[in-house]
C-alpha cells in the first residue's frame, strides 16, 4: 500500500514529515547519534544495491496492483448490488422492492447500518453471520441476545471493509476497478518478472463464509469468484499431479464434446470448440502483432489495431462516453501506459468477469506462465445496428457473449434511448426483461433494475444464463423486452427485440443496437417446454483410500419453480445406494437451502461426502440419485427435477459416472439436465430416508 502515497522513491530521502517527527522524539537515533552498526558510508547506496532494491519494489508493486485490483472487484461487486437495489426502504424492501403491507405478512426489519427497512428474505442475521465467519466472534457474543439485522448490501460493505484492509487504514485503500484492466496489464509487464514464483497451496472454494445473496446480480458475480477459486484449486492440483485431473463439461447433446478440455501437461494448449480452434504457441509476446492483424480482418466496424487507442476505445469500450474515458485516464495512476494498453483489452464493464470465465474455462496451468511475459488478448466486438431512426418506440443497446467453455451466456443491457413515454408525467420507468426462447417463462426470464422517470435509461447490467450449450445457441433466441414499471398495477409493455443466438460467435462480444418492435405473440414452439426442469453442474470424485464419493454441487441453472409463486428456494439432495435388489441402505446428504426468492440460478459450491456401502469396489454397483427440491410457503417440499447416475443410466450421466469410476481421485465436472423422474415417489422416499441416515456433514470445502 505504500505506493499509494506516490512515494516510489522512498529510499532516496526521508520526507520532511518524517524528519519533523524524528526531531520531536526524545529517543532514537536522532538523539543518540551513534549506533553500533553504523557504517562509515551511511546513506550511500551503491548502484547495484539500488538496482536490487528497485527490483524488490517492482515486485511489490506487482502485488500492490493485484491487490488493488482485488479490492476494485470487491468494490464493483458492491456497487452492482447497490445498483440493483430497487426499493425505497420505507414502504418497500430496500433490496427487492417488495411492498410492506400493514397486516398481511411479516413485519419489515430494519437494517442496523442504513436504518432502512427490508423484508425478511433480504436481510442477514448479523449475529449468526458473524459467528459463522468467526470474524466478529467477540462482538456476537456480546450481542447474542439481541439479534441484529443487516441488509445484504450493508453486510457486504462490512465484508469489503474488512477484506480490503480498510478497517486498518481507516478508509478504503486505493483500488483499480475492473474496467481499468488495461492499466494493470501494462504495469504488470513493464517491470521485470520476479524470480520468486510462489505456488500457493491448492486452496479451497473461495470464501465459504461469505453469505449467499439472493439477489441475482450479486450471486452472479459471487459465483465468478467462487468458480475461480474452485478452478484454481483443481488446476493447481493438476500441476502437482502431472495433469491427472480431468475436468470436463459437456453439452447435453454431446455435440460439443470438442469443448471438453483435458489437462494436457504440455505447455502449449490446444483447445477447440466448434468451428473455432484455439491454439497458441508458447511465445505469446510475438503473437501480439498477429493478433491485431487478425482482429482487423475479423471485425466489420471496429478495427482494433495496435496503438490506436482513442478510436479503438470508443468502439470497443462498450460505449463508455468519451468524457468518461478522458476522465478515467486522468484518474489512472499511470497515464503513460493507458494508451498503449487500451488496445489490448477493451475496458468493458465485465471484462474481468468474462476473462475470468475464459481463464477458468481453460484448465491449462503453466506455472512458468508467471515468469513468461505475455500480453492480454483482445475481444472483437461487432456492432450490429439497425437503428437509423429509432422509430416510435425507441431503441435498446446490449451486448451478448457466449462462453462455450463455461457454458454461459452473458447479456449486458447497456442502455435504451428515446423510449416511448408511458406515464402521464411524460416519462417512463423502464426496465428490461430477458427471455430465452423457447424456454420456461419462469426460469428463463431475467430482468434488470428499473430506472425511474427517464426515457433514456442507462442500465449497464450484465445478466448471465448458465448452462447454455452450443446446441442451445443454435436453437434458441433471446428476446429483450423493455417494460414500464407501474407502481399501481400492470406493467406496461414498451417494445421488444428478438435476436437469434445462432449468429453469435463463441467468445466474441457482440454489440446490438436495435430499434424496438411492437409486441409479438409468441409462437407455440417458443412457448414453455414442459420437459424442461433446469440444469445442474456438479462434480464427482471417487476417493479410493477412504472409499467415499465426493460430490460437489456447483450450481443450478434455469430451475423451474414448481410452487405457485415464481419464487424458488432450491435445495439439492444426493443419495447413494447399492443398485441391487434387497439392499435398503441409503447414504443421503443435502445442501443448504438457498433462500433466494427469484434466483433460479443458485450457486451452491457445496461438497458432500458419501461413504460407499461395502467398500470402494462396490461403487460400480451403486447408483447416485440427485434431486432438486423447492419448498413452498407452507413448508411442503416439491420436486423440481432429478437425475440418476449409475451403470444403468444413459448419455451424459453414464459418461460422467464412468469417468468418475474409472479415474479414482480425479474430479470430473459436468452439466446435466434435470428431468422429472418417472418415479417421483421413489425419489422422495429416498430423500426422506436420508433424513434418518444422515452422515456428518463436511464443512463446505472441497477436500481433494
Amino acid at each position: 500500500m505504500l505506493s499509494q502515497n506516490g512515494q516510489n522513491n522512498l529510499w532516496v530521502c526521508p520526507s520532511d514529515r518524517h524528519l519533523m517527527l524524528r526531531s520531536k522524539l526524545d529517543a532514537g537515533w536522532s538523539v543518540r547519534g551513534i549506533q553500533p552498526d553504523k557504517k562509515q558510508h551511511s546513506h550511500s547506496v551503491s548502484p547495484e544495491e539500488m538496482v536490487h532494491i528497485k527490483r524488490v519494489i517492482a515486485r511489490a508493486e506487482n502485488i500492490d496492483v493485484s491487490e488493488q485490483k482485488r479490492i476494485g472487484s470487491m468494490v464493483q461487486q458492491l456497487e452492482s448490488m447497490r445498483k440493483i437495489a430497487r426499493g425505497d426502504g420505507v414502504t418497500r424492501c430496500i433490496l427487492c422492492s417488495e411492498e410492506f403491507r400493514k397486516f398481511v405478512g411479516a413485519s419489515p426489519l430494519i437494517c442496523m447500518d442504513c436504518k432502512k427497512k427490508m423484508c425478511q428474505k433480504c436481510c442477514v442475521d448479523f449475529s449468526t453471520v458473524s459467528t459463522l465467519q468467526n470474524v466478529q466472534r467477540k462482538h456476537s457474543n456480546k450481542a447474542s441476545k439481541s439479534t441484529t439485522w443487516l441488509c445484504k448490501i450493508c453486510c457486504e460493505s462490512r465484508e469489503v471493509w474488512k477484506r480490503s484492509g480498510a478497517w486498518f487504514f481507516r478508509g478504503l485503500p486505493k483500488y483499480i476497478l475492473p474496467e481499468q484492466n488495461p492499466v494493470i496489464v501494462a504495469s504488470r509487464y513493464d517491470v521485470r518478472p520476479s524470480n520468486n514464483v510462489y505456488v500457493y497451496p491448492p486452496s479451497e472454494d473461495a470464501n465459504p463464509h461469505k453469505p449467499a445473496f439472493g439477489q441475482q446480480s450479486s450471486s452472479r458475480t459471487y459465483s465468478h469468484y467462487k468458480s475461480i477459486g474452485r478452478r484454481r484449486s483443481s488446476s493447481s492440483e493438476s500441476s502437482d499431479n502431472d495433469g491427472s485431473v480431468i475436468e470436463r463439461r459437456r453439452s447435453r447433446n454431446a455435440s460439443s464434446s470438442s469443448s471438453a478440455i483435458s489437462n494436457a501437461s504440455s505447455p502449449s494448449l490446444a483447445v477447440s470448440y466448434g468451428a473455432m480452434s484455439l491454439s497458441s504457441s508458447t511465445n505469446f509476446g510475438e503473437d501480439y502483432r498477429l493478433t491485431s492483424a487478425f482482429s482487423r480482418h475479423g471485425s466489420n466496424n471496429s478495427n482494433p489495431s495496435l496503438g490506436v487507442s482513442p478510436q479503438r476505445r470508443r468502439v470497443s469500450g462498450r460505449r463508455k462516453k468519451l468524457k468518461k474515458t478522458a476522465m478515467e485516464e486522468e484518474n489512472l495512476p499511470k497515464n503513460d501506459v493507458t494508451e498503449e494498453s487500451s488496445s489490448t483489452i477493451p475496458p468493458t464493464k465485465d471484462s474481468l468477469d468474462m476473462s475470468s470465465l475464459h481463464s477458468s474455462g481453460v484448465k491449462q496451468t503453466n506455472d512458468d506462465s508467471a515468469s513468461s511475459p505475455h500480453i492480454g488478448g483482445s475481444y472483437i466486438e461487432r456492432v450490429y445496428t439497425d437503428v437509423d431512426n429509432a422509430g416510435p418506440l425507441g431503441s435498446v443497446e446490449f451486448t451478448a457473449l457466449h462462453d462455450p467453455i463455461k457454458l454461459a451466456l452473458h447479456v449486458t443491457v447497456i442502455r435504451a434511448r428515446n423510449l416511448k413515454a408511458m406515464d402521464l408525467n411524460g416519462f417512463s420507468d423502464p426496465y428490461v426483461k430477458l427471455h430465452l426462447l423457447p424456454g420456461s417463462k419462469k426460469s428463463s426470464k431475467m430482468r434488470t433494475r428499473t430506472k425511474f422517470k427517464t426515457l433514456n435509461p442507462n442500465f449497464d447490467e450484465t445478466l448471465t444464463y448458465w448452462g447454455i450449450t452450443e446446441s442451445d445457441m443454435s436453437k434458441r433466441k433471446l428476446r429483450l423486452m423493455v417494460l414500464d414499471e407501474d407502481r399501481f398495477g400492470h406493467n406496461d409493455f414498451i417494445g421488444e427485440v428478438t435476436v437469434t443466438l445462432r449468429h453469435l460467435t463463441p467468445l466474441e462480444t457482440k454489440i446490438f443496437n436495435m430499434a424496438l418492435d411492437y409486441h409479438h405473440t409468441l409462437k407455440k414452439s417458443d412457448e414453455e417446454d414442459d420437459n424442461e426442469r433446469g440444469r445442474l453442474l456438479f462434480s464427482l470424485q471417487f476417493q479410493e483410500d477412504d472409499s467415499t464419493l465426493l460430490v460437489n454441487i456447483a450450481r443450478c441453472a434455469g430451475l423451474v419453480p414448481v410452487a405457485r409463486n415464481n419464487a424458488i428456494d432450491p435445495q439439492v439432495k444426493v443419495c447413494l445406494q447399492l443398485d441391487e435388489p434387497g439392499s435398503n441402505e441409503v447414504m443421503c446428504e443435502k445442501t443448504e437451502r438457498k433462500k433466494s426468492t427469484r434466483n433460479t440460478n443458485p450457486a451452491f459450491q457445496t461438497s458432500v461426502k458419501l461413504p460407499i456401502i461395502g467398500g470402494g469396489n462396490n461403487l460400480v454397483k451403486c447408483r447416485l440419485d440427485i434431486s432438486v427440491w423447492d419448498k413452498d410457503s407452507f413448508g411442503r417440499e416439491h420436486l423440481v427435477g432429478a437425475l440418476e447416475l449409475g451403470i444403468k443410466s444413459k448419455g451424459n450421466e453414464l459418461r460422467h459416472w464412468f469417468d468418475c469410476v474409472k479415474h479414482p481421485g480425479n474430479i470430473v465436472e459436468m452439466w446435466h439436465n434435470l428431468t422429472f423422474p418417472p418415479d417421483p415417489e421413489r425419489i422422495s422416499a429416498l430423500a426422506s430416508a436420508g433424513k434418518r441416515r444422515r452422515t456428518p456433514r463436511l464443512p463446505r470445502k472441497f477436500v481433494s
Binding site: 456497487e79 448490488m81 474488512k162 484454481r232 482482429s295 468518461k324 489490448t344 481453460v362 500480453i375 492480454g376
Partner: protein, 229 residues
Amino acid sequence: MKHEAGVEMANSSSVQQQQKDAADQNFDFMFKLLIIGNSSVGKTSFLFRYADDSFTSAFVSTVGIDFKVKTVCRQDKRLKLQIWDTAGQERYRTITTAYYRGAMGFILMYDITNQDSFNSVHDWSTQIKTYSWDNAQVIMVGNKCDMNDEDRTVETEQGQKLADQLGFEFFEASAKDNINVTEVFEKLVDLICDKMSESQDFDPNIGNASKGTRLTDGNADGGSGGCAC
C-alpha cells in the same frame, strides 16, 4: 464464418494472464507484516524458515528491503501474508521506515546472544510508534534461542519484562532449529484478526465514496432507490 487464429491466441494468452490473476486473488484478506531489528539478529533467516522452511547459517546482509509472500489458513480464513524483511543496517533506514506505514503487524527481533541488539529494542519500538499506524500489532522475538547458555547474554526474563513494559507479545525463537517460528507468525496474524474483529469504526460509505473516483456514465440514477447505506 472464418475464424482467426490470432484472436484465439490473444484470448488464450489473456486467459493465462487472467487465470494467474485469479489464482493470485484467491484469498480473503491480505496482511502486510514487517520484520525489524538490528543487523544480523536473524530476520532474514526467520523469514526464510517460515516461508520456505529453509535455513542457512551463511550471513548475507539484506540489501534495503525484501519480501516474501505466503498464503495461510487461519480461523477458516485464507490470508495472504506479505512479509517484509528489512535491512538492519542504519544506512538503509530511510528505505525501511517508509514501509512501516503499510504494515499491519511487526516482528521486532533481537538476538539473545547480542546485548546491543536487545538494547536497541526500545529504539525500534519508538520507530514503530513514529512511523506506523497506531493499531499495528507488534510481537517481540528473541531469536537464536537454540544457542547454549554460555553464549546467551539476554535472559528470557529480561526479554519478557521489556515486552511487558512495551506492551508487546513476547517469544523466544530459533530460525535454525525451527522453534516458535510458525507460532510467532500465527500469533501475529491472530492479533491482527482480533483487532479486525474489534474494529467498529466502520465507514458505511465505502464504495459509495467512489462516486468521486469512479465515473459512471453520467446517468444520474443515484436517487432511484439504491441502498443509501
